[in-house]
Symmetry: C2
Subunit: 432 residues, 2 copies
């Protein structure tokens, strides 16, 4: 029988009533898709099934028919609804045996956690189907289990995201290159990040600019609440050739994308802001009303942000705006807390309060309450201050409270980035 060839096709099976009932969002499936793509494996389908042995057996059997690699996540834990191990062992006729090494490492973890003895149900986690290869789990008790079946390679993984990730990051690459020699042509991709332009408008302009299409490069528009990513993908190309294709496309798209584009690690605009601050050797403080800490939270999500982020004030009440940001009580009374003047005064005030090189102020009505005819829910004013100049914008953002807050934080960060980069042409002089 000739060895199978061509790219490796994978099916991901995620197991759990909580996924079907919608109590848990399936982040594992997305993360696995990204990891497998980077390893050159094409995920062709995903199935999600309940915690029932017949359903798990159906999904794994069906997946084995459609793919070379079947990844099953969930149902390896100690509780009674964890039946994946039993279902797959039954399907593949592999008796389960207690593995002394796994048992010992589980026992050691329990001792370390201060427990005297191993609870009986946790012993089940040490059961391993005959012939399975164990994949180490550095952060939990259940190891991954790889089973060669003659056809597809079946890999069982715990459902707890950090355990699954840690097993995959440690073992999957070497397992796959051993099992599928010469069959892992990498999928290479490049993502261009934009914020502030709607998907349909961007797609239209791109189509007008590229009437002849994108050749060997697949292009996808990935909108979310923070903006639209353009993902360029090629398969089976060497990196130099792929890079040439990507750069040619980027050059053609430049005039359309540049006003909206930013460069941030993992598509994060907050990362782009931190990098821009560092490049200008300056630091930042933020004053937030409607975003209530979200802008500060996004900046401090970035490891090492502390070298350019000093901190900020969440000033929900008018009194806090006056007391901690030096906003003038008369300004608040004349223009209202949600106004261009107050946004600017907040940005200037927080720059003074933290002796910062740059500042942001955001004030608005996130809803659902608090809107008026003149200032409906979604009305937001935001201001960025840097180097003696202040740029102020007002918008009415659509969506619910979370959407308005996310959009406000993103728009404020984008305004600051433009100001730092000298692209906010309407900024005016400000004392700060």
């Amino acid at each position: 029988m000739p060895a199978p060839s061509g790219s490796v096709r994978a099916v991901i099976v995620t197991v759990g009533d909580e996924l079907l009932l919608g109590h848990t969002v399936d982040t594992n499936a997305a993360w696995l898709g990204g990891e497998l793509g980077a390893l050159g494996v094409r995920v062709v389908r995903r199935y999600t099934v309940s915690d029932e042995e017949p359903e798990i057996r159906w999904a794994v059997r069906d997946a084995m028919g459609a793919a070379d690699l079947v990844l099953v996540s969930g149902g390896l834990g100690p509780t009674p609804d964890d039946v994946t191990r039993d279902a797959v062992a039954g399907l593949l006729h592999r008796p389960l045996r207690t593995d002394p090494d796994v048992l010992e490492s589980i026992r050691a973890r329990f001792l370390e956690a201060g427990m005297q003895e191993l609870p009986e149900p946790n012993r089940r986690v040490a059961q391993v189907p005959e012939g399975a290869r164990k994949l180490p789990n550095p952060v939990g008790t259940a190891p991954g289990l790889a089973l060669e079946t003659g056809g597809a390679l079946v890999v069982l993984l715990p459902g707890v995201p950090r355990e699954l990730r840690s097993i995959i990051e440690g073992s999957l690459g070497s397992l796959l290159s051993r099992h599928f020699p010469g069959r892992l042509p990498p999928t290479l991709s490049r993502t261009l990040h934009t914020s502030g332009i709607p998907e349909s408008l961007l797609a239209q302009r791109v189509r007008e600019r590229l009437p002849e299409g994108t050749g060997d490069v697949r292009m996808a528009f990935l909108p979310d609440i923070r903006g639209v990513d353009l993902r360029l993908t090629v398969t089976g190309m060497d990196p130099v050739e792929a890079g040439r294709h990507f750069e040619e496309l980027e050059r053609k798209l430049g005039p359309i994308l540049d006003p909206w584009r930013f460069h941030g690690d993992r598509g994060d605009l907050a990362d782009a802001v931190v990098v821009a601050l560092r490049a200008r050797d300056t630091d930042l403080a933020v004053a937030e009303s409607c975003t209530g800490g979200l802008v500060a939270k996004r900046l401090t999500d970035i490891p090492g942000a502390s070298d350019v982020f000093l901190g900020g004030v969440v000033a929900y009440s008018n009194e806090a705006k006056i007391r901690h940001l030096g906003v003038d009580a008369g300004t608040l009374e004349r223009h209202g807390a949600v106004s261009a003047d107050v946004a600017q005064a907040m940005a200037e005030g927080v720059v003074r309060a933290f002796d910062a090189g740059a500042g942001l102020g955001v004030t608005g009505i996130a809803g659902p309450g608090g809107g008026t005819a003149e200032k409906p829910v979604g009305t937001v004013w935001y201001a960025a201050w840097y180097g003696g100049r202040c740029a102020v914008r007002g918008e009415r953002f659509p969506g619910d409270r979370e959407a308005v807050r996310e959009r406000s934080a993103q728009a404020a960060l984008m305004l600051l980035l433009r100001l730092l980069e000298g692209r906010a042409t309407d900024a005016s002089a400000s004392r700060g």
Copy 2:
């Protein structure tokens, strides 16, 4: 032929390369699962397939064999990779026709958005398969499309989450009760929220407490980084009987759960804190270092939190802790910024600065950098102040930066809740 009976079984099909590649997390599938459960529909499986007509046809055909209701989300938009409409129309032999009403409403939206004319690709969105019922989309251009097939009811929905939600919330309930008369026995569930006890320990104690099992009630443990939920579920019971079952279980589990339990809308501890503050007619300010705005953000996620949340200070630098929170420079030097004394001084300081009735202070090392042998990454001190008493805790949280920050925010909110409820027995007198 007798009418089908029994509970309605659904399969959810989500469509999109971005889902398989892992660029997008499938939040629609989870949300749909929750909505369908509440309507009495049992989701038996989920499939995710790529943006290719044969794959979509395979999934919908297979789902029609396994279910009474097939919900397909994604691929109804204007871009060339949106092919769900064509795939399903082809599978079911329903020619596509441009619907004048849909076309007109799309045109009106574009005019309203300030665009002169409708781009050609957007006209595709107005195509409707013959015999389809249109489900209004109040927030986007593509309507939902319901197709009766003789067997399963097939419903096509856009992939943009807020459009999908808005269609479902507006139309699905009445559609299903018309299509499946008398076949929607509700699934009733109750969720008990805990924070601070690991899943395996909780599961063990519950098992010891309930050696005879849980009878007609299904129990699931749903751990995430913020805590562990216990979900109790019954199907086909009337609400009074279900309530009796739930209450009996809750009573039995009380002694085990009470130390860790909280009551918050959608399982949100921040909501529980807001409710507890309101009940005591007091208000809160927060001082954050390592959580960098996350605690404030979580509190302001709650609509209407402004009546009890005054604001806070994100004090990343030592200087900000001294200047804005009045933390003593000597305390910082003697104990270090990550210490019980500084956490307490931050809580007390923010209470003074905002003239608040309650305060929180959080300081720690979220990583990946900044750890030492004595204070490794994950070391966090947090303090809660209320009514002249202050409770302080120190922990070493496992996980990466995001995990440490999430766990810190959750633990700090739990400490404050206990203090407000008089359950933090080790709190000591403090001037605030």
